[in-house]
Amino acid sequence: MINTNQLSEITYVEALNQALFLAMKKSEDVFCYGLGIDDPGRIFATTKGLVEEFPERVFDMPTAENSMTGIGIGAAIAGMRPVMVHQRLDFFLLALDQLINNAAKWHYMFDGKRSVPLTIRLLIGRGWGQGPTHAQNLQALFAHIPGLKVVMPSTPNDAKSMLLESIYDDNPVVFLEHRWLHNQLGTVAEEPENHPDYLPMDKARVVTQGEDITIVSMSYLTIEAIRAVNSLKEQGISAELIDLRSIKPIDWATLSLSVKKTGRLLVLDSGATTGSVAGDIVSTLVEKEFTALKTAPQRLAMPDIPEPTSYALTKDYYFGAKEIADKAHQMVISVSAGDVYTHLVKEGHHDVPGDYFKGPF
């Protein structure tokens, strides 16, 4: 008998791949489509082997983002569970009519008669000159629309469990995967809910418990934040790191509980500062937990400028573990950290997640 509790260490990409196989095995209603889904690259190998196993239910598509979204909606209101994928989030912006006017509204505007169980996988690029229109983090834009769910898993087991739950959710889910997470290693269980770290899709995860400050992260920033939190600990600062996982809805209970304990809040966001999810979290927690706060909450989000392309221009564009640690240190100790966290600056090229990454996208 197979021990379903056994964990194996695999990449985020392999975890997504396992989730797709599982979902398609479990139900004939699931089908997968997207430009390049069965091409030699297989969406960075996330759909590897899929078309061979399910030839009728995995298909490439015309370059028609808007209508292909609407076609997914049509199949979904007939009871199917389509999974669409785009190699960059930015391409999907052509589909905002179908996403906002139909997918998000259908269940409401027809009085709950029919929902739209559509999953939209969007890949967020970064670095190697991805530039202004291949690297946008628009989670706030999607989260703004009532009727949509938005998730950003950061670990392989979350990627697996949350993709499965997105597919089996009866609502449209925007599933955002950061390209720099694709090679992350982590343990997964055959059935993801058997993993000791398993949480339902709409729950935030307390990654590390702490007393002095709450740091809220999302997606790839969780990886940077873990490094920051480890260094803060060496300086005697106990940070509680919360990985949001679900951007819409937000697990306010977990955030409130943490802020009540620490009295300090730093929110990280991979999107532009104005109108960011971080801004919304800060304002909501100020409203709800004002009396618990010992200092003004802060956000670390991206500047209100597009990502430039040149290697030279992107040098100071992103923030990482060092900036997170500096900010948290300042908030807790009330003095500048100076050079304490300089070692957190990533060595090597700033525009790749690791030496393995050779581009082009």
């Binding site: 015309p62 808007n66 609407g70 076609i71 909606i73 199949a75």
Partner: protein, 331 residues
């Protein structure tokens, strides 16, 4: 000509659908100014022919989606008149519980899967429904109603391309009424290019005819439906027609300057219902007496629909929060 609708049942059904759409909408127009139908309302008066002729060829398992001007499509498909009127009155018993109004009609019992208020945006939804029918090997089709304006939207080209690519069981029904709101076709599309020819060039089997000629429309739809049911892929049907009243609302608007009274009168002469009655008189066993009996019967139903709508309760204000998300599984 006299064998074009040789099915007596279809003759009666078409006639009843024409009466229902026309007389119900006339009643909406007559009462709209009372301020109880508080939503944008686009009347189909003058355009009843195509949906009436097509719908008798469909079953409840065939799907249809529609546009902002959806009353005729919904009613012809067999959609419940009570639920439609209650929806326009904003009542809890409305087909969309008062959340959608005139432009968001649904009756899944008869395969009417929804109408929406954005031009061109149900076209792909209909193609997706047809995709599900094909993937599930169902022997049914989907009707996508659209207007001439929607053939200017990218969604039309994208959807038509995919329908042809996958040979999906979908029939695009383009009611060309010459206007997109107040903007005439000649300002929007090249003069010598026909919409049905354009559709043909995408690879859709295309038909073209007089949408106010119910008999001709029926014949075209028979061919189109047969084409699809025999597995030959999607069709496009362009039918010329004319909306009598203003784009949105109950009034005539021939005086405001975007079209002429003469143009309207010319089209009124080509009115679909009287022409069909005349054809039936000459070619069927139905006579004027049957017409008036049917119409009286239909008007009783219309009275009931209005009574149902006006007597139904409004939804409670706090229920506005319901149904943003689904908590239940689709069947």
């Amino acid at each position: 000509m006299n064998t074009l609708i040789d099915n007596t049942q279809h003759q009666r059904e078409i006639l009843n659908k024409l009466y229902l759409i026309r007389d119900l909408e006339e009643k909406i127009a007559a009462h709209y100014s009372e301020g109880k139908m508080r939503c944008p309302t686009h009347l189909s008066i003058g355009q009843e022919g195509a949906p009436a002729a097509l719908s008798v060829l469909l079953s409840d398992k065939d799907f249809a989606v529609s546009t902002h001007r959806a009353h005729a499509h919904y009613l012809a498909k067999g959609g419940c008149p009570n639920a439609m009127m209650a929806e326009i009155f904003g009542k809890a018993t409305g087909c969309s519980g008062g959340r959608g109004g005139s432009m968001h009609l649904i009756d899944e019992n008869v395969g009417f899967k929804g109408s929406t208020a954005i031009v061109g945006n149900t076209i792909p939804v209909g193609v997706g429904l047809a995709l599900s029918q094909k993937m599930r090997k169902q022997d049914n089709l989907t009707v996508v109603y659209l207007g001439d304006g929607a053939t200017e939207e990218g969604s039309f080209y994208e959807s038509a391309n995919f329908a042809v690519l996958k040979s999906l069981p979908v029939i695009f029904v383009c009611e060309n009424n010459l206007y997109s709101v107040y903007t005439g076709l000649e300002k929007r599309q090249p003069k010598d290019r026909k919409i049905h020819q354009l559709a043909e060039s995408i690879g859709l089997k295309s038909f073209h005819g007089d949408g106010n000629d119910v008999v001709q429309s029926y014949q075209i739809f028979q061919n189109a439906v047969n084409h699809i049911k025999q597995g030959n892929g999607p069709c496009f049907v362009e039918l010329e027609t004319y909306r009598w009243r203003e784009h949105c609302g109950p009034n005539y608007d021939n005086h405001i300057g975007y079209r002429s009274e003469q143009e309207f009168l010319t089209w009124q002469q080509k009115e679909p219902i009287a022409r069909f009655e005349q054809w039936l008189n000459e070619n069927s066993q139905l006579s004027t007496n049957d017409f008036s009996a049917s119409r009286a019967n239909i008007n009783t139903k219309i009275e009931q629909a209005f009574k149902f709508a006006s007597e139904s309760p409004f939804p409670k204000a706090h229920t506005m929060k319901n149904h943003v998300y689904s908590e239940q599984h689709n069947d």
